[in-house]
Symmetry: C2
Subunit: 303 residues, 2 copies
């Protein structure tokens, strides 16, 4: 079971849907394999970009089994196993371990708000104690602008000290460099990963490990460029320009519309409630804007 | 299958835990039966006060089956079936219907934030369409200070118009009278229920239906007094004083500590993560303050 620390370019993969609204296992596996040909080192199914919280525990387990059956190596995955209810997170984490996947990406509990550090710590400690498998490698998932509950650097440091080896890293998707800097200072032994791609050059210079990000679904090579020592201001501007256009739209249906366009496969477009489709007018404007900015380079998806 | 509209005093029941952290079916059923002897007309398992989102779908279904097996009538329940993932809400709502319970109390999807009205509407429409059972009676659960996603009066009115009969009411737990007033105006055909007990006299005068509330777990008779035409300023002050003391503490472990004290049963105290126990010092001060204010009247729990 590979538990090598996550480094470099990992993708928080989108979750394509079948015509009847279920997870499209075949499209998902094909997407992941394509990403692997584009410089992506590993994937994180069922994060935020993967609409993870919109799928049941059973759907999430079945999709993971399907990815493995399709030949996606367990060593190249970190699985979103966080849930509001502790027993669901335990079930998903144990299932991943049984399937040979050591790494889990875990949200804090996100229904009750204004949780104390003790409460967030207590949830993760309870999860690790309940799973009770020394092979597990936990990546703490900090995305307070969506979950509304964060994981403070104090909690990260305390968990890392109390569960050495098991706490393996942090995906810091807050987009706040001050928070990332505190993580690098307080828990330098962990893989510190950012979700906000423009922070990557700075992160690597400061000793961080890499990224688990959404933009890699559509522009993997552009994100990979931010991870090289030879990164240029033009590389940075390219990713920044993409993000600025993307976030004029609801980002999830926008991401899927871009993949659909890159592949010529409209079946990629649907999102699950509570995400809503973008209108045809929005989709058309989005793609036009990206094309004009030179950001719909089909070389990104060439096989 | 009773689908009579909810009126009067309903309790958002607490969920007691066993020594190993599971749902304590025996204590839960005994609590509900005791509430029924105190003027409570029905109960809502697995709302916010019931820590509903902290339990798995399987735990929630098993507890419901246990309540029914213990003789709690299906006609006196509304079941919290909301979940972040639509398929989980469908599973729980169908399970309740199969068990003979028409009424479900449903949160909006609460992981993704800043949802549009269309997205919230779309989630409930998808739920009702997926359950596809004309017997279902949905109570929309608005508690934005916890869920961070609300259900606007516009969405309530639109759902009520598109699913007449199926949309049966709203539990408005925002504690904002302006919102409640809008609901009474926009959807007068629904059972408008408040969670904030001090609003009850005003609600009833304005044509509202009653309450599904947490304070009824510990002071059912005091809340019942607010529902009578003979309600006095002293009755209102009593409930207001209780709330002011309760919310100096984390309210969930505080509620459970009060029940434990009323029954002389410390087994009632535990909460599930991410809720944390209150300290012994907090518990002692809480109970002292309630006693001094005349708010720990054991007549409330006399059999």
């Amino acid at each position: 079971m590979s538990d090598a620390p996550i480094r470099g370019l990992w993708c928080a993969t989108l979750t394509p849907l079948t015509a009847d609204g279920g997870v499209d296992h075949a499209r998902l596996a094909a997407h992941v394999r394509r990403l692997f040909t584009q410089g992506v080192e590993g994937v994180a199914p069922f994060g935020t970009t993967g609409e993870g919280q919109s799928f049941s525990v059973a759907e999430r387990m079945a999709a993971l089994d399907a990815l493995l059956a399709a030949g996606v190596p367990a060593a190249r995955m970190v699985v979103g196993t966080g849930c509001a209810a502790l027993p669901d997170a335990v079930t998903l984490t144990r299932h991943a371990l049984r399937a040979g996947i050591a790494r889990s990406l875990v949200l804090p509990p996100f229904f009750f708000k204004e949780l104390s550090d003790d409460a967030v710590y207590g949830y993760f400690a309870a999860l690790i104690d309940a799973v009770a498998d020394p092979r597990m490698r936990v990546y703490l998932y900090h995305i307070p602008q969506v979950s509304a509950v964060g994981i403070s650097p104090d909690v990260v440091a305390r968990l890392a000290a109390d569960y050495p080896g098991v706490i393996a890293g942090v995906k810091d998707s807050a987009g706040d460099w001050n928070n990332t800097a505190k993580l690098l200072e307080r828990a330098p032994q962990l893989s510190i990963l950012v979700g906000h791609e423009p922070h990557l050059p700075r992160l690597l210079r400061a000793g961080g490990a890499g990224t688990i990000c959404g933009v890699a679904n559509v522009l993997p090579k552009a994100v990979a460029a931010l991870l090289t020592p030879a990164v240029t201001p033009a590389d940075e501007a390219r990713v920044q320009a993409f993000i600025e256009i993307l976030f004029r739209y609801p980002f999830l249906p926008a991401f899927k519309a871009i993949v659909a366009d890159q592949l010529g496969d409209p079946g990629w477009r649907p999102v699950r409630v509570p995400q809503m489709p973008i209108t045809e007018a929005q989709r058309s404007t989005l793609l036009d804007q990206l094309r004009k900015a030179g950001l719909l380079d089909t070389r990104e998806v060439a096989q």
